[in-house]
């Protein structure tokens, strides 16, 4: 056993114990650690964004562009996005600043401009991506063909089971007609698949939560107490 003398380890230990104290009941130590984590995360994001995003992508190129303008006069290169000194960065910065118009009631409508650009961009990227990357490949993966049995018979049987599961589950969520006759049996098959899915998800969730607990105990026993080598 070799207890750590590193103050950062001790801070980590104290905060870990504060959070774990919630398992007994809600208390001030837990709330302190929770608020501290939130505050630190926000401060970290702000500071990192300033130094690693605003500085290299906005302040430095625009600053360099002003210097270049003062020294050499106007030039087309100051409007080139590939140049280290350019004024173009001011355009997205200006559009981004329009978010703050939310605080000026008379001009609050201006906030729609950055929101519109943001939504338009993401919609344009996401819709084809969902079809190309998710819907079509998954649909293709569900279709059973003679090729599904080429690798091995077991692989083919799994492919058939997946197909039955997909059709059964879709039938279970088909509410436009009463589940009677073949529809009833298809829906029943679907609910069995759904329950197996829930069971697997729960099992994985338990595994994940235990892993997190192991991570904390590993830290306490190894880094702090030095019990584990």
């Amino acid at each position: 056993m070799h207890i750590s003398t590193d103050p950062w380890t001790w801070i980590g230990v104290i905060l870990t114990l504060c959070i774990l104290s919630f398992l007994y009941r809600d208390n001030r130590f837990y709330r302190f650690a929770e608020h501290l984590a939130l505050g630190l995360a926000n401060a970290w994001t702000l500071a990192f964004t300033f130094h690693r995003v605003l500085m290299p992508y906005l302040i430095q190129p625009v600053g360099a562009a002003f210097k270049s303008l003062a020294a050499d006069g106007p030039s087309w290169s100051l409007l080139s996005p590939n140049s280290n000194a350019n004024f173009l960065a001011l355009l997205p910065a200006f559009i981004g600043c329009l978010y703050f118009m939310r605080f000026v009631p008379a001009r609050a409508w201006l906030v729609r401009i950055p929101i519109g650009i943001f939504m338009g961009y993401y919609t344009g990227v996401s819709i084809p991506a969902q079809f190309d990357g998710v819907v079509f490949p998954q649909l293709k993966g569900t279709i059973v063909t003679p090729a599904s049995f080429e690798g091995s018979m077991t692989q083919g049987i799994w492919a058939v089971l997946v197909l039955i599961g997909v059709l059964g589950t879709l039938t279970y969520f088909f509410f436009s007609r009463e589940h009677k006759g073949p529809l009833k049996w298809a829906a029943k098959t679907g609910i069995i698949y759904i329950m197996i899915g829930f069971g697997a998800s729960f099992g994985f969730t338990v595994m994940a939560r235990i892993s997190l607990a192991i991570g904390r105990f590993y830290f306490l026993l190894r880094d702090w107490l030095g019990i584990i080598s």
Binding site: W44, H51, G133, V134, Q138, G141, A208, I210, L212, I214
Partner: protein, 287 residues
Amino acid sequence: MKLEKLVKLDRRIIFLTMAAAIIFPLVFPFELPMTMQKTTRGLWQVIEGADPTKQGVILSCDYGPQTEAENQPMAVAVIRHCFARRVPVLLASMYVETTPLSNRALEEVAAEFNARATTNADSLIYGRDYVNLGWVPPPIVPMLQMGSSISGVYRVDWDGRDTSTLPLLQRVKNYSDVAIVVSISGGSLPMSYVAIVQPRFGIKVGAGVTAVMAPDFYPYFETGQFSGMLAGMKGAAEYEDAIAEKYGLKETRRAMAGMGAQSAAHLLIMAFVILGNIGYFLTRRKP
């Protein structure tokens, strides 16, 4: 019936028992037989097949401290495998909170290898063999821009150095020089690589995901969209085991160390579920 008390058992007793079930195997470790799942093997094979002279591996670390216990051993294992084969590693983080964690993993493994190195060629040198690209928001921008120029979107690295001067980025310029993008994530970000990046650039994508997320990602492995996947701490342990076996690298293996505790905790939970159900049914029988 005493078993009926199980349904009213104080949850703090369960927590204490669980803590004991975790601590005991950590302090007195035992090794369990480990077989590599095909999801883990898929990732292993792609990195084994990478050409170290021409290709790099982009390791996209996209997790926070809350899933560090599961994701960090994955990052360490993948970096260790790449370095064992001298495949350059380009570390990127799509979430800001990951940057110090992933940087620690990179530095830790580089230090391991450099401690054994005897010559400059043996050593792992920042900028030549590995680089930490840092963080550029929002994720969609670097994900797409890396297809044309990595140093174009990451102008400065984690330490604020100009990336265009780094030798590695003059060699590995975009996705066409990359063997695989491995997204180690506590959320659904690997899906963005599959949906947005893969159809456009045809790059191989691997994932390292928490056990909670794993069931959502299995269908994408089955269709071949993910070349490989590390599912939870078990996936990381399998990877650590494979590296130890093939390359004899038996340094800190956090996931392997946790496997005994994981098994003990699972057995305890199964016992609680069975006993809880027995108690429940006995209660129901009473009028």
